[in-house]
């Protein structure tokens, strides 16, 4: 709740800061200060929910999980600002507006983590989505950016329509929007509710870019300004997943109802894993590879939704943190390079050992190699699926895909360390290096002691 209010207000404040402050560096500092305040405000709420959450006006349910997830999202955004905040001004003139939009997205994410009503689900999804359409097209001159923006907008609002239809049908069956009170799982399933659930699955799959609804993802992520791709493909995606998770755990779990959608969702998961990983292998540009990798990672995060147990809930928090930090880090380094192809990384280790080492750690984390946060993230979601009992085939498939993922992540490592070349790198500031080291430290600490994060849950 605090996170929601503070991020929304920060957004408004930043909007006005942009009107009166001309210095872009100062705007960035404002944004960083705002995110720190939001982070602290969010944590300040923790004691009140430590022994059980509470519902506000039947709309928002503040829980430990919500607060923790918000902390992860805000923390990751802080890191994102530290690493890539100065890239904002390269996109266009309206730096403060970009920050504002990021804050609005964060407000959407905090809503997604705490909603207890279908209305709030809808609003959360939309508050997250609409600013993204703008961010995707922030570079008005770039045709690719235009394309990304238009495509994202059309696909996004299409899926919104589907989501709404799903919500309406469920309302028709249940008569309430309260996710705890839908009561669909108890008796035989109303056909309207069934259609509604399927539509919601489709719509949310769109939002989290799960196959076969992923087709917009590569183009959008590739076409958008890199600095925003970094944000969209990480924190926002995690936010959408949390919405997904809350929705399905909150109201569709248990009883006969879960049988109906578990199968669909597990097939979606499988397809997502396969398509994401196999397509990523064939990419020539690191940015596009990361776009496909985000699809692949979405496949892993879907496990948490399918499995419906505590392990999955813990897993999604950890996964969100691990995946976001690592990907933001990789993007942060990527933006310092001129050439986004794999060849652009050739010989980076010799020229910028720190950057190369940090990237390697991030990629290890993405691949799920132990002692990085990514390992425990994968560990948790796979455990969740194994605990579920009927998803072993999916787990085996996931493991095979994880092995494939090594291929494309390691291409970057190979380029950096084992090939020779003269990468064109921008000047690296001390602040950037410090932020990078912080990110690496986070990845490693979470990789060794995931309970530092999970003990809050």
């Amino acid at each position: 709740m605090n996170a929601l209010i503070s991020t929304a207000l920060s957004g408004v404040v930043l909007m006005f800061v942009g009107l009166f402050v001309r210095n872009k560096q100062h705007i960035k500092f404002f944004a960083i200060a705002a995110i720190i305040i939001a982070f602290i405000a969010n944590l300040a709420q923790y004691p009140s929910v430590e022994h059980g959450g509470y519902v506000m006006y039947g709309m928002i349910e503040v829980t430990k999980f919500g607060v923790l997830f918000n902390a992860v999202a805000l923390g990751a955004t802080l890191l994102y600002f530290l690493l890539s905040g100065s890239e904002f001004e390269k996109v266009g003139e309206h730096v403060a507006d970009y920050f504002t939009l990021v804050f609005f997205i964060l407000a959407g994410i905090s809503l997604a983590a705490t909603f207890s009503n279908l209305l709030m689900l809808f609003l959360a999804i939309e508050i997250m989505s609409i600013p993204q359409y703008i961010l995707a097209g922030a570079d008005k001159k770039s045709l690719k950016g235009n394309e990304a923006s238009l495509k994202y907008f059309l696909m996004g609002s299409f899926s919104t329509g589907i989501l709404l239809m799903g919500i309406t049908l469920i309302y028709g069956a249940a008569g309430t929007f309260d996710i705890a009170g839908l009561g669909l799982g108890t008796e035989s399933v109303h056909p309207l509710a069934l259609c509604g659930i399927i539509l919601i699955v489709f719509a949310l799959s769109f939002k989290v870019s799960a196959a076969p609804f992923h087709f917009w993802t590569p183009d959008v992520y590739d076409g958008s300004p890199t600095v925003f791709t970094s944000f969209m493909s990480t924190i926002v995606k995690a936010g959408a997943f949390v919405a997904f998770l809350r929705m399905f755990h909150g109201s569709f779990a248990g009883g006969t109802i879960s049988e109906h959608w578990t199968l669909i969702l597990s097939i979606i998961t499988a397809v997502t894993l396969v398509i994401g990983n196999f397509s990523a292998v064939f990419q020539q540009s690191v940015k596009r590879m990361l776009a496909y990798s985000s699809i692949a990672q979405a496949g892993f995060m879907l496990f948490a939704v399918v499995a419906m147990n505590d392990m999955g809930t813990q897993g999604i928090v950890l996964y969100a943190a691990a995946y976001s930090i690592a990907t933001i880090g990789v993007f942060g380094v990527l933006m310092k390079l001129k050439d986004y192809t794999f060849e652009g990384f050739n010989g980076l280790a010799r020229k910028q050992p720190l950057l190369a080492a940090a990237t390697a750690v991030f990629l290890f984390s993405l691949a799920g190699i132990p002692v990085t946060a990514g390992f425990f993230a994968k560990y948790f979601v796979l455990s969740a699926a194994i605990q579920h009992g009927h998803l072993l085939w999916l787990v085996i498939l996931a493991v095979l895909c994880a092995a494939i993922s090594v291929y494309y992540y390691f291409r970057v490592i190979i380029a950096m360390y084992f090939r020779t070349g003269e990468p064109e790198v921008e000047n690296i500031s001390g602040g950037f290096k410090a932020a990078l080291i912080l990110a690496v430290a986070l990845v490693l600490v979470l990789g060794l002691f995931p309970n530092l994060l999970l003990c809050w849950l």
């Binding site: 813990q314 290890f364 799920g368 190699i369 132990p370 002692v371 390992f375 560990y379 796979l382 455990s383 194994i386 605990q387 072993l392 787990v395 085996i396 493991v399 095979l400 994880a402 092995a403 090594v406 291929y407 390691f410 190979i414 360390y417 084992f418 090939r419 002691f449 995931p450 309970n451 999970l454 003990c455």
Partner: protein, 478 residues
């Protein structure tokens, strides 16, 4: 505490080494490996008096029931000792060499040593898995950075193979975790699970594939000759001397006690695979002209025999395997040292271009002969006792298997002697005429190897005593 030190010393030394320049890393590596050897011997002594003092449990991730749980049993002590000795031998051998970026090279070597020791001391499944992976990463970088021409593709294949295997193992570990009564990853909880046979049937493969890739066993072996060939020889020493033992170790520590019925159900299949591997590898080794590949294939054959013996399911064979793990490690490292020497002198790996080296380098020739003989298990060398025990165990299990595996040893004699023939005898040529004999460091390393070969060949009892406890325990559970 001693056990933790065994991991920590190379780990910290490795990290420090990254920052050092010039001959700093060399010295540091030497000091660290000496210290670990001393510690490992200390652990051995401690194991005879107070084995429990080697175990340590500390909280790690309470939510998961995973603990930092290290300990040493007989096998563990032996393998830690092997690891320590191997790295000492490697460092002695390459002391006079200068590698590009020595800090990184020595750092990675030491880190891999730490990872290996971690694997051998882990008594918590999750921790075991993590060390299992960690041992791999430094080796991957070592091979890719300092290896031969085709190093990138080859080591990548190696990495993906083993990574896939270990992921499958992770699935198995998680599954077993949910079967434990107290939701714990500890070895004792794992080994006291009562799994129904159906589960054991498929769980076996999840683990076995991971271990089989690492060893490697017949259909999973394709990464191995390429990798051995392309890696820098010091890395190959670690790979073949210690790293492949991870697979065997895994089977003995984590497969047999945890999934006994599964292992029993599939033991025939496993042994058949091993025997095919033995004969296949031996045959290829016979026609092999490349020295490194020849030794690589011979290693496949030996490991196949060891693996077959594990599944032979009796105490004798198991004891044989355990002792052979150590001895094979020593022998193969000895062989690789010589290969390294030859390669460094001649710059070629092709045996056709060698010949007549006995005249120019008599000391090396002598060492090569002794070590080769030990490798084929001649009596009074260390290889004999292990192979003898394994064969007799295998014989008890099934005559035919034993017969086919025995064929392997005959073939081994053929190609090993062929190799000796080609390398050190025969006509010398322009290339070999310029060669020089061993340098002091190399002599020291090889002398240590030969001393161990002979001591253990003549008096293997301490080693047998050391591992007997393990073989008894495992065999009871099996």
């Amino acid at each position: 505490m001693l056990t933790v030190l065994l991991i920590l010393i190379p780990f910290i030394a490795g990290l420090i080494a990254f920052g050092l320049k010039g001959s700093g890393p060399k010295v540091l590596g030497m000091i660290s490996s000496l210290a670990t050897v001393v510690l490992a011997i200390g652990a051995w002594c401690r194991f005879r008096t107070a084995p429990d003092s080697l175990n340590l449990v500390a909280n790690w991730i309470p939510q998961l029931g995973s603990q930092f749980r290290v300990g040493l049993d007989g096998m563990g002590v032996m393998l830690c000792l092997l690891t320590a000795i191997a790295s000492l031998l490697v460092f002695i051998t390459i002391y006079s060499r200068d590698y590009e970026k020595p800090g990184a090279f020595y750092g990675l070597m030491l880190l891999s040593q730490a990872g290996l020791t971690g694997v051998f001391t882990a008594f918590d499944a999750l921790q075991f898995y993590i060390f299992w992976e960690l041992a791999l990463i430094p080796v991957y970088f070592l091979c890719s950075l300092w290896g031969g021409e085709k190093r990138i593709a080859v080591t990548f294949k190696f990495f993906v193979y083993t990574f896939l295997g270990s992921l499958l193992m992770m699935v198995g570990i998680i599954y077993l975790y949910f079967q434990t009564a107290d939701h714990s990853f500890s070895w004792s909880s794992f080994s006291s699970i009562h799994l129904n046979p159906d589960d054991q049937k498929w769980l076996f493969w999840l683990f076995f594939v991971a271990f089989a890739i690492k060893m490697p066993i017949f259909p999973f072996h394709t990464w191995q000759p390429d990798t051995y060939e392309q890696s820098p020889t010091p890395v190959t020493m670690i790979l073949s001397g210690v790293m492949v033992k991870m697979g065997l170790f895994g089977v003995i520590r984590w497969l047999l006690p945890v999934i006994p019925q599964g292992a029993a159900m599939w033991s025939d299949v496993a042994i058949v695979l091993c025997v095919i591997g033995i004969i296949y590898a031996s045959c290829i080794a016979m026609v092999q002209n490349d020295l490194k590949r020849l030794i690589a294939y011979s290693s496949i054959a030996h490991i196949g025999l060891m693996c077959a013996a594990i599944f032979a399911n009796n105490e004798q064979s198991l004891q044989g395997v355990l002792i052979q793990m150590f001895n094979h490690g020593i022998n193969i490292i000895g062989l690789w040292i010589i290969v390294e020497v030859i390669q460094q002198r001649l710059g070629v790996k092709n045996m056709d271009q060698m010949g007549g080296m006995a005249r120019k380098a008599p000391r090396m020739a002598i060492f090569l002969v002794i070590i080769s003989l030990a490798n084929i298990g001649l009596p009074l060398t260390n290889g004999f006792i292990g192979e003898f025990l394994m064969f007799s165990g295998l014989f008890q299990y099934n005559h035919w298997f034993m017969a086919f595996a025995g064929l392997g040893i005959i073939l081994a004699a053929v190609y090993t002697l062929g190799m000796i023939q080609k390398v050190i005898f025969g006509e010398s040529n322009d290339l070999t005429d310029t060669t020089t004999d061993l340098q002091p460091g190399e002599t020291l390393a090889l002398s240590l190897v030969v001393i161990m070969i002979i001591v253990l060949g003549v008096y293997p009892k301490p080693m047998l005593d050391l591992v007997s406890s393990t073989s008894e325990v495992v065999n009871k559970l099996f």
